[in-house]
Symmetry: C2
Subunit: 768 residues, 2 copies
């Protein structure tokens, strides 16, 4: 079912040939970003064909209030959407007065697009014959700077091939943009001021309602055959747009080039009255480096990212390309520099999911960032939730909970819930569990307990309070039950006693109590402060304990498995392999009620619990549950294959693990779910990383030690990855014959390999 038009390459994403129907998909795949902003790979020049324009600024969103249907109490005021930001990439090109537009050209040859992952830039080249028969060669290179993250750079070169020609470049900035997902072409930006000098322009605009103030800016410089050209531009200004037109007579085979720098300054980082001067500052720093100088910093910055984060795979180009693409896009989206930001499921590549924060961060992304960045980055991600604790308590209060119970939002921009479908917003409450689990996971991996007494314990208390209040006592079952939830498998709504939810709820309470006791014993002053702040009593804790101790878990004696929820066995239990292939993915062919009453599982649900709490279950139990649930799983969430890949590897089923790996790592490149035109699946890309490190590498943390049980798919000769474990870097290289461990660090490191302790010393290769 996968598509196949991206050329295999170890270090680049490459498209060859111009296919108009692929434009929107490629705009997603070739997206670029630098953590502070990102863009779809829209063309600089006019394109009148089908396109999805998108340029996004981190943290800038809009609260849409549109209401439809019956409103429910407790719904948030708004549905947050990521906003398409003013455009700065545009460069209109004319040749003898005729617009260059790939949609209207007589012919487009040698079209090639490359996203160079190693060096962090995007290029495009083609030879086009315009309607006026002039043939031009175009070469474009674009990147968003990691060094100066408010700026991006474009080099756009046109060479007339069959005649002399008058060529004009019209770089512009434009705040007259809208969103794809708007209902009525509403504008979400108020443009307040346009200013320009002889070669710089600035548009000040702020978002409606949320009042994010921005300055969009640009500066351009032209060259003929590489020499600076002092053309005086024609400047045009309208209400929401400034453009500079540079025109030159260019001889056949001469090259006319423009360097354009552009970007945004935002009042998240500057005083809103100084945005223009901040932009001028940024432009000055940029010009000191120049285009090539800035590109050099880009190459260095990406070299340093890859040095730590790269995973190599030998003997399987597609697998290699897939994992690098995933690592690249994760780094486009989030670099960990700004603790106010988080990781949107579509990053900067589309509008869907509103650029908001989901439980994906805690459940899937934290391991990647913990192991490939400074551990402060993971701590920042935890603190993001700590800073939102007050809002999580307010959110729970809106739903009727009291006494400091916290329900973290399903979707958020600033800590407030900003999604309004009751089955998600009100019922997909297991998200609270992942937020607690991330605290546990952070401590397990980093050994940094300080986060818990300083901040984490307050979060754990708020979450434990929520679960205790949310569970109710069933007289019929003589147990505590959790009614009316949606589990990770969103193909079930409003079910009772979802195993995953009940299990993680009990675990959250137990873990909170364990840490209360530990902080009490070891961090007396923190303990006193927290008890006062949260007003927690022993009596309340014993209420929690009562709920945790008597939690109900649905179980089938016949199948010897925990049931995904009450009543699961009443379904028509027809496995996925019996489904008509024409009906897949079922979410594109089946009505919602049919999906709901079917047994089909969108993503790991019961198995997600077995993934988080692997130690609580025997391998035999894992196998029983995997064999029961996987055959009903349609993997229509991007978050599904990675967990299954890890578990298949754990069960020694390498062929299946490899299939799941390919699916997760090339989900977007090969467009398995036929939706890549909407944007990329960023958060699941961290799951791809886990498939290799935890799945094939078998990495775990056991008793404060890294533990490995390496395996390798038969399709590969070798693979390697690096892990930052407690500020020492361990490089792991697995081949068909052996596994090598190498340490970049100062202290000897004892690891477990297939259960045997082995000590790795600095710069000494250990072969196993």
């Amino acid at each position: 079912m996968n598509q196949d038009y991206i050329k295999p390459d170890n270090w680049s994403i490459i498209e060859e040939g111009f296919e108009p129907e692929r434009v929107k998909s490629s705009e997603s795949l070739f997206s670029i970003g630098n953590g502070a902003m990102g863009q779809r790979a829209n063309f600089e020049e006019t394109y009148t064909g089908d396109t999805f324009q998108g340029s996004y600024i981190a943290g800038v969103y809009y609260p849409d209030k549109t209401r439809v249907g019956w409103w429910k109490n407790g719904y948030p005021e708004y549905f947050a959407k990521v906003l398409n930001a003013p455009s700065w990439i545009g460069i209109n090109v004319t040749v003898n007065g005729e617009a260059l537009d790939l949609h209207t050209c007589k012919q487009v040859e040698d079209f090639r697009r490359e996203l160079n992952m190693k060096e962090g830039w995007l290029s495009r080249s083609f030879v086009a014959t315009l309607p006026n028969d002039v043939q031009v060669k175009v070469e474009v290179l674009r990147f968003l700077s990691l060094e100066l993250d408010e700026v991006g750079a474009i080099k756009y070169a046109v060479t007339p091939l069959n005649a002399d020609a008058e060529i004009s470049f019209t770089p512009y900035i434009d705040s007259g943009i809208t969103n794809e997902d708007t209902n009525w072409d509403d504008q979400f930006w108020n443009t307040t001021k346009l200013t320009y000098t002889s070669n710089q322009a600035f548009i000040e605009a702020h978002t409606m309602k949320t009042n994010f103030h921005t300055c969009t800016f640009m500066q351009s410089q032209c060259f003929v055959d590489g020499k600076i050209s002092k053309i005086e531009p024609q400047i045009e200004q309208t209400a929401q747009k400034v453009s500079f037109e540079y025109t030159a007579e260019i001889q056949q085979n001469q090259t006319f080039t423009i360097h354009k720098f552009g970007g945004y300054t935002v009042d998240r980082n500057h005083d809103k009255d100084n945005l223009v001067s901040a932009a001028k500052n940024t432009l000055e720093k940029t010009l000191q480096l120049g285009f090539e100088g800035l590109l050099d910093t880009q190459k260095q910055a990406w070299a340093s990212i890859w040095d730590m984060a790269d995973i190599t795979i030998e003997g399987d180009v597609k697998a290699q390309q897939g994992i690098r693409f995933n690592i690249l896009q994760l780094n486009h989206t989030y670099l960990g520099k700004d603790a106010r930001l988080n990781i949107g499921p579509k990053g900067f590549t589309g509008e869907k999911y509103g650029g908001s924060t989901y439980w994906d961060t805690e459940a899937y992304c934290i391991p990647f960032y913990m192991a490939t960045k400074d551990q402060q980055v993971a701590r920042n991600l935890l603190e993001y939730r700590y800073h939102h604790l007050g809002k999580a308590i307010e959110n729970a209060e809106k739903l009727g909970f009291t006494n400091g119970a916290a329900l973290y939002p399903m979707v958020t921009m600033n800590g407030e819930e900003c999604h309004n479908e009751w089955e998600i917003t009100f019922e997909e409450i297991h998200r609270n569990g992942a937020i607690a689990f991330a605290i546990f996971n952070y401590y397990r991996f980093t050994g940094d307990y300080s986060y818990i007494p300083e901040k984490g314990l307050e979060v754990l208390i708020g979450i434990a309070r929520f679960w205790q209040q949310r569970a109710t006592f069933s007289t019929a079952k003589n147990k505590y039950v959790i009614l009316g939830v949606t589990g990770p498998n969103e193909y079930e709504n409003n079910v009772n006693n979802n195993f995953y939810t009940n299990y993680i709820a009990k675990w959250c309470v137990d873990y909170a109590i364990e840490n209360i006791n530990k902080v009490k014993a070891e961090y007396a002053s923190d303990f006193t402060r927290i008890m006062e702040k949260t007003n927690l009593s022993d009596a309340e804790i014993s209420q929690w304990q009562q709920v945790a101790d008597a939690m109900y878990f649905p179980y089938s004696d016949e199948h010897q498995v925990y049931l995904q929820q009450d009543g699961f066995l009443d379904k028509e239990l027809i496995t996925v392999d019996k489904l008509d292939a024409n009906q897949r993915p079922i979410n594109q062919y089946w009505s919602w009620d049919r999906i709901l009453r079917s047994p089909y599982i969108k993503q790991a649900d019961t198995l997600q619990g077995f993934y988080f709490f692997e130690d609580h279950f025997s391998t035999e139990e894992l196998q029983k549950h995997f064999d029961f649930y996987e055959p009903f799983t349609v993997h229509e969430s991007s978050l599904s294959p990675c967990v299954h890949s890890i578990q298949a590897a754990k069960l020694g089923r390498m062929e299946q693990a490899y299939t799941f790996y390919l699916r997760t790592s090339r989900l977007d490149l090969d467009d398995y779910n036929k939706e890549v035109h909407e944007g990329l699946h960023i958060t699941s890309m961290a799951g791809t990383w886990m498939s290799i490190v935890e799945g094939f590498g078998g990495m775990r943390v056991k008793n404060d030690m890294l533990s490995f049980e390496p395996q390798i798919p038969k399709q590969w000769q070798a693979f390697s990855f690096k892990v930052n474990f407690r500020n020492q870097i361990l490089k792991v290289n697995v081949s068909q014959k052996e596994t090598n461990f190498e340490l970049e660090g100062t202290t000897d490191l004892t690891i477990l390999v297939n259960g045997t302790p082995i000590t790795v010393t600095r710069n000494n290769l250990v072969k196993v």
Copy 2:
């Protein structure tokens, strides 16, 4: 919790005193209608205070396409909304150049509003002191004609009380209107032409998208002290409005009066190119009668409605006023003249529920119309669904059903589903059962079997096919189950094995098979035609039978009741009387998830099944179920108290039955649920009628005979009602001492009274 500002009166709804905060509620309560159009009781003159403007034309709607959140496959293209229609009632009034506006007057005295139910008109009078200190007396009378149902009439009289004054009337028509529920003040009407003569004006406008063409028209005539005044009007025309200004110098205590006639011609009834000439025709007929002549026809028409439909209650003015208000508003909404129309839950009194058709018609309204109108009216309501059978089959196909299975829409304007919340649209499928039940009920009451071979059987077959396909076999239960439904109690969503749904599903299949056999035996040519049309085979019927025979019903041995759904006993079973009164109605205070996991019942659900299929259960079983479920019922649907009133009466609990009766009959008048400003609850008003006739009167049809078990609340001296049973009129009068039966008919009628057969002959009072 009920409000209390309507004056008790046997025949009128009366408000005294002007309270701005009640304006919107009164606009609902004093609504008028004539089956073809209806209006909220908005003021004719300018009112700048808080108001909800509404004027509605039967059958004219708009398909709103706004999308929010995640779209689900199978959702309809649109969400239909009733449209506020161009306004024809407006008459701006100035006194010495100053606008009369109750919101800005210095003083408003003697404000009185009356909805005269007996004669079918609305009046308003007050004495106002304008900011310029002129005091005027105003008297207004308005009605929508039953005789000429495209026209309404207004008599508006102003008398200056403390000075001579220059008074102007500016009657106008205006198509520049919008809806209350619009998201962005969108306009839904395209105005195409405005024309006028010296005293008539016409606006042609059509709805966007649906293209309903209308002509809104008016004609006016002024009088001074009752004498025709030949004032030349100033005519003003803007893009969407025509107004005629009539100005006169009026002496103190002289009365200046305007008669305004206005209304709509619509292309549902005329050629769209002839709407203006149709309007002129209607105006000509109106003018032949004149205001008083038209008013006389109104009084006669209402006298004839009341002659058949009135229920009298002696000794309890509030109860009397309540039932008449209900009967009045039902007749405002639907008179049975136009088989393309149906009964919207808010009639012509507001926008909510989109003026659409719900299962309310079949479950609650048909008995009222069967018994108080010609039986053709009820047959028209059945045929409405017959005409929509093709669309119901298409609707089922969208959800994946095949082979002619029919799923009637939850909400419809033209047979298409036009609501998009999955838990309602896709899951509240029990509506299909009510549509089949109405066919059974019609035949039971009228004895007219012809409908079934002619039309009804096709509907029954489509419905039976749906249920057979919708049920699935549970290996675990060894029974057929129906998963993922919403029952009549909409405070539960996506539950499994809702008793009511499963029960009516089984009944539908059994009833379809019973009628297939009967038609086969007795209507051979119809049978052949239907079998060919539906392609039905014996093999398919035996599949149906298998499902019906092995249907699962959840049951509690402990409580000896059928369970509302699987898992009901896992809830915290705290009865309603233990709830904090400040938290009621819970739908205004609780979040949706809390409501869903609570045991609280919005309206009769299991008990609705016991109501429909009373004969299938013993009185002891009814009592057990009533005692189990009623204590968890919050009656937050207007459709709830009537069923409970009937069942309480059946169980001999007259005090409880009376309380439920008051609640249903005065739900809007006393605004129990604090929402009357949004409009009236029309369809539940038919339930009020049932509370008296079926509840206190104990009327049933048994073995083709009317059967009565009369009881009377101790608060009443007597009550009476009439029933059209098979084209003979039986009048029933119940007092504390005895029950009298009187027949207006030609044939002796044998009825059962408390089980004993009694024969009633024409014009002979029978006392029991």
